[in-house]
């Protein structure tokens, strides 16, 4: 590999971009391996994002639940990961969790199906800061049981986050506290005290009461 090409590949590795494709000799490979070792040691970047884990769960659900009828399709590479997909995938993940619980409790045979809630039973919102920066999503599902799922990405924050649900009549309900680590956090919980259709939105705050973000349900 030419020195210029090798330099470009090293730049890509340092920037966290996929290198290549290109042909390398054994010496180049040693250099690249060391560059990767160093890049992989950068603090705070070794774990997966919530959007990735819930998105992959959804794609695997589609692949595995239909596998008796068709051959598994190869996973598409480099899928676009949008906030909307993350919300839909989050809904699927929580629905899947509920299905697993049902399987254990009732000794059902066969595989549990991850059922996505449909239509108006699902309400979604986007967490935004006071200056409009998007920090995450919230999904509320009206069913048996009803539940709320949220994921957030709060840069440079590790610690507890308090979630309050806002009801149409103007009241506020304490929904729970969840942990954010290295900026990433997610929380899901069943909801029984308030009808999902009566929810107006949600507010996230630190334990001292400082507002982090607010979401309004779109539908």
């Amino acid at each position: 590999m030419s020195a210029r090409r090798l330099s470009a590949v090293i730049d890509a590795i340092a920037a966290g971009r996929p290198p290549g494709p290109f042909r390398a000799d054994a010496d180049d490979a040693e250099l690249l391996r060391t560059a990767i070792q160093l890049r992989a040691a950068r603090p705070g970047e070794s774990g997966p994002t919530t959007a990735f884990t819930v998105g992959l769960f959804q794609r695997l659900s589609e692949q595995l639940n239909g596998r008796e009828a068709r051959r598994p399709e190869p996973m598409p590479v480099r899928r676009r990961r949008t906030a909307l997909v993350a919300v839909a995938a989050a809904a699927m993940l929580v629905a899947g969790t509920a299905a697993v619980t049902e399987t254990v409790n009732h000794a059902a045979t066969g595989r549990s199906a991850a059922r996505a809630p449909q239509g108006s039973e699902v309400r979604t919102g986007t967490f935004q800061t006071s200056n409009g920066k998007v920090l995450g999503q919230i999904v509320a599902y009206r069913g048996r049981p009803s539940w709320v799922f949220m994921n957030v990405d709060v840069p440079n924050y590790s610690g507890p986050i308090k979630c309050m649900l806002q009801v149409d009549n103007g009241s506020t309900v304490a929904f729970g506290v969840f942990a954010v680590r290295n900026g990433i956090g997610q929380f899901s919980k069943t909801i029984g005290s308030v009808d999902v259709s009566d929810l107006r939105g949600a507010v996230l705050a630190t334990p001292t009461g400082s507002a982090v973000a607010e979401a309004t349900f779109a539908g």
């Binding site: 090293i10 040693e30 391996r33 560059a35 070792q37 890049r39 997966p48 992959l56 595995l64």
Partner: protein, 180 residues
Amino acid sequence: MANGGGHNLHVVDDDVYGDWETVYRDNVDRLYRLMYARVGNRPDAEDLTSEVFSTALPPMRLSASKGEVRSYLLMTAKTVLASHWRRRIGQPVTTIDPGTDIGYLTEPSEREQPSDAPRMAGKILDGLPERYRRILELRFLEACSIKEAAHTMQISVSNAKVLQHRALRMAANLALELEQ
């Protein structure tokens, strides 16, 4: 795992997963961290982790023990990574060793738990002369562009490129020595 024969109670063997969702939830974070340590970038780590699960889960025997499932995932990951480098570069830049890397899948998975990458990187950097160590720290650990690194070290961009190349070459030799 035994089934309760249609009744509402059944015995669950703690040593098996029982369903693919549990296999996924217990291993996705661990497997991703292993892949990230081997490729050093998020898009490739995500694609390879996806490929491991989409390849391994359909034929998986869910009555197998957790240990067997993890070994199977690791063997699949080894093959997927080898294919990735063969296609991308034609050389096995990094590999997965089922003997030593099983720890990624068996040790407790915590979000804040680091992989072995920082420890290994620290050892490599500690063995380098100051200027070599600094250029690599700036570029790979502190997210500086080559221009920013050159500015910080008060050298020209072309000098920074040469310094980076020599530092990486020495670091690669050190890494080989450390592994032997």
